[in-house]
């Protein structure tokens, strides 16, 4: 019983962690937290189910196509909901513009795909040691994503440019780093990671229009716990939320899982506003 709670919790937590990484990547170049992060996961799951499940496309075509949908939506987000409002970042209009876009894509999915959750096809068909694919796939993909994103930041010039922009955007601008291009690239990367989260987690969460909002919230808590900008923190946070949810599910029943998660969210924010690995807030005056 404990084992099954752990397995399910780690699997779901990995999905949340990936959405957290998606948030982090977008934030690093634009200082924007976007409500569309969870919707990317929804798109990955829905399009994966449609292309591979319904249209029977082979995985090696269906997978990149589903990822492309996420990338395109993320680029649209940057262009429509983020770039125009960057001028007055202090008004935080991006909260509303990304929320609006998220609502639009969610409704469109509900109309086109339907309001019932639909199953996501099995991809590989392997269950090592009896562990179902829906559990090991998200974990594997999450680990691969973390390693890849980490390598990207540490070893490529683009990744270092992201770090530079995130550290001191004005100095990066003065140094001649092409900040607009870097921002678009970061949204492309975030789109890929977000869609991947939904794709890898599709068997667990189903292809369901409503998982967008779910992932937006549950994928944000890892950031709150781990601190914005820390992918390691997102992993720790994601696993915490996932496992806690499974325990809550077992103890108080499915309907109150949200309540427990929300309580965790509030407690973390009150006790540690900057998260476990985050930096402290800057001077006010």
């Amino acid at each position: 019983m404990i084992l099954s709670i752990l397995i399910a919790g780690v699997a779901v937590g990995s999905i949340y962690a990936m959405i957290g990484i998606c948030y982090n990547v977008m934030y690093s170049t634009s200082k924007v937290l976007s409500f569309t992060s969870g919707q990317l996961g929804m798109l990955g799951a829905v399009f994966g189910a449609w292309l591979i499940g319904d249209l029977q496309w082979p995985i090696w075509i269906g997978f990149p196509a589903a990822m492309l949908v996420g990338v395109v939506f993320s680029m649209i987000t940057e262009f429509i909901a983020v770039r125009p409002v960057l001028k007055n970042l202090d008004q935080h209009l991006y909260v509303l513009s990304t929320l609006a876009l998220a609502l639009m894509v969610q409704t469109a999915a509900a109309i086109w795909w339907g309001t019932e959750p639909r199953p996501f096809p099995t991809l590989v068909g392997l269950s090592p040691a009896g562990l179902a694919e829906k559990y090991w796939l998200p974990v594997l993909v999450c680990v691969l994503t973390m390693v890849s994103v980490d390598l990207f930041y540490r070893k490529t010039l683009w990744g270092r440019a992201f770090t530079a922009i995130s550290e001191d955007a004005d100095a990066a601008l003065a140094l001649g780093i092409p900040e607009r291009r870097m921002r678009v690239i970061s949204y492309v990367l975030a789109g890929f990671v977000g869609a991947l989260a939904g794709f890898a987690g599709g068997q667990l969460l189903f292809a369901f229009f409503a998982i967008g909002a779910l992932l937006t919230f549950y994928g944000f808590i890892p950031i709150a716990i781990g601190g914005i900008g820390s992918n390691r923190g997102a992993l720790v946070g994601g696993l915490t939320v996932g496992i806690l949810q499974q325990i809550a599910n077992y103890v108080v029943g499915g309907v109150f899982v949200g309540v427990v998660t929300f309580a965790l969210f509030i407690i973390v924010l009150v006790l540690m506003p900057q998260g476990l690995f985050g930096s402290t807030v800057a001077r006010r005056v």
């Binding site: 937290l33 409002v85 909260v95 509303l96 469109a108 109150f256 309540v259 969210f265």
Partner: protein, 597 residues
Amino acid sequence: MTALSNVEIPPQATPWRLATRLAPAAAALAAAGLLPGVVDNYWMQIAALACIYWVLIAGLNLIVGYAGQLAIGFVGLLAIGAYTAAILCEKLGVPALAALVVAGCSGAFFGFLIGLPSLRLKNFYFAMTTLGFATIVTQIALGWGSLTGGGIGLPGPVFPPPFDTPLGFYYLALAMAVLATYVLRNIAISNFGRGLVAVRDADVAAEAMGVPVVRLKLVTFTFSGGLAGLAGALYAARQTYITPDAFTFDLSVMFFIAVLIGGRGRIVGPMVATAVLTLLPEIAAPLVAWSSFAYGLLLLLVVLLLPGGMAEYIDRIFKKRTVAARITSPKVAAIAGVIARPDAGPASPVRVKGVALAFGGVRALDGVDLRVEPGTIHGLIGPNGSGKTTLLNVISGYYAPNDGTIRLGEEDMAGLPVQSRSRLGIARTFQTPRVLGNLSVLDNAMLGAYSHFESSFPLTALGLPRTRREDHAIRERALQALTAVGLAHCAQSRADQLQHTEQRFLEIARCLVMQPQILLLDEPAAGLAADEIDNLASLITKLSTLGVGVLLIEHHTDLVFQISHHVTVLNLGKVLASGTPAEVRSNKEVIHAYLGT
């Protein structure tokens, strides 16, 4: 000098003006009252729904429009009000009108709870919190079947005659809407309304004006929650049956859009927007599946194209700058009338002793001693990074020193927050003027007297004559202050239409209204032309002769040496020299520090 002779008291007070201002509202009221005679029951119920939504949105307008908090999950409070009323009536047999009141109270309580995170969490975090709140309210409603009927839901309260008919209910909803509008307007035009805009647009400066940011936010959330609770009870009655899935995210977005599109901080705009948005689903019935999409699109368009709402857009087109002339010369004789306090005791000096403060590893202040005596001007100069502004911020209370004391008279101010220090009579200006662009120049000046208002929030909401009298007295004082600094002719202009230099003088007027003992000026002459610096000098000098102690931080060393009684030079956080202007000016070490030799 008759300082007020050429300045009129603003037009609000005269009866004719009052009548013309109220005419549109009266007309709207008459139209709404006569509506049932013109339309059938169906449309009357729609109108009732619009009234109910407006009760909630009036409260939300205070939070989002005036205080600028991104409370997106407000539908949760609607649900709480609805379920409270329904449970009381259905399970406990409480009479509907009593349940209405209790629903309002429970809404107020939960509004207060939502207000708590707003103190620490900003923007995205806070928005997410309110969304989470709305979600768990629905989840609890769904899961706690024994109380809420779970997925099946509960019947709504039924009001006693004459409100049990559609006509009677409509008038009840209309009455509540009128009441909500009345209290919203009273708050909006009051001290609290200005304070909320300060919280929204300049929260750091708000504290220095004496606005108790925490208390004001919580009171506003509580009040708005109460309105939402009332709306919820009415909503439950109107729907006759409520289930958890009636309280959708769509509704939250709709409420938000109504405030935004109507214009943050306005009343008529959001009211019209509410009516329109309530009607839309009826008119566009076939497209109901796309309604969420439409709300999202509408929100996106408003954010991108009209972030200030329709009202601000119209404002900018039609309201031109009232006066093209530059600032007229100040009438310093008017100052005495502004700052005189009949009950004031002897003024106190500010005594800074041994103050040290380090940020990270950097010692910004390293054992600073300084005294600002009442009735004197104390100049503070020093190279960049010497700690001048940091010292100012420590005196006003934004930072607590690691070491040393700061006293006002005999009182040690350690631990006193910024707004308490401003209530003791410490006023300050900022390096970059922090004025509220969306408010008029006069409103900005009136903000200086925030802590002098005695009317409480509930009494202000009721619009009692006493509140109006207080407001009028402060208005006169503010006008006199504007006359003193030479800005009386643009009292009704929006503050963001002022030139930078005029905004600096507006900050000083605001400080005058505060009737300060001590005035801390942070580089007031930056960006001023020579004649404006002369005006500034005469203002400061007059203030000191009236007994105010002035601490003047400046890079215009000419000005400092000219008007100061005493000058202190800071370098790298330490006092390098202190004495009369002549002594300091000829001090070799000072010269070396500036020229970096």
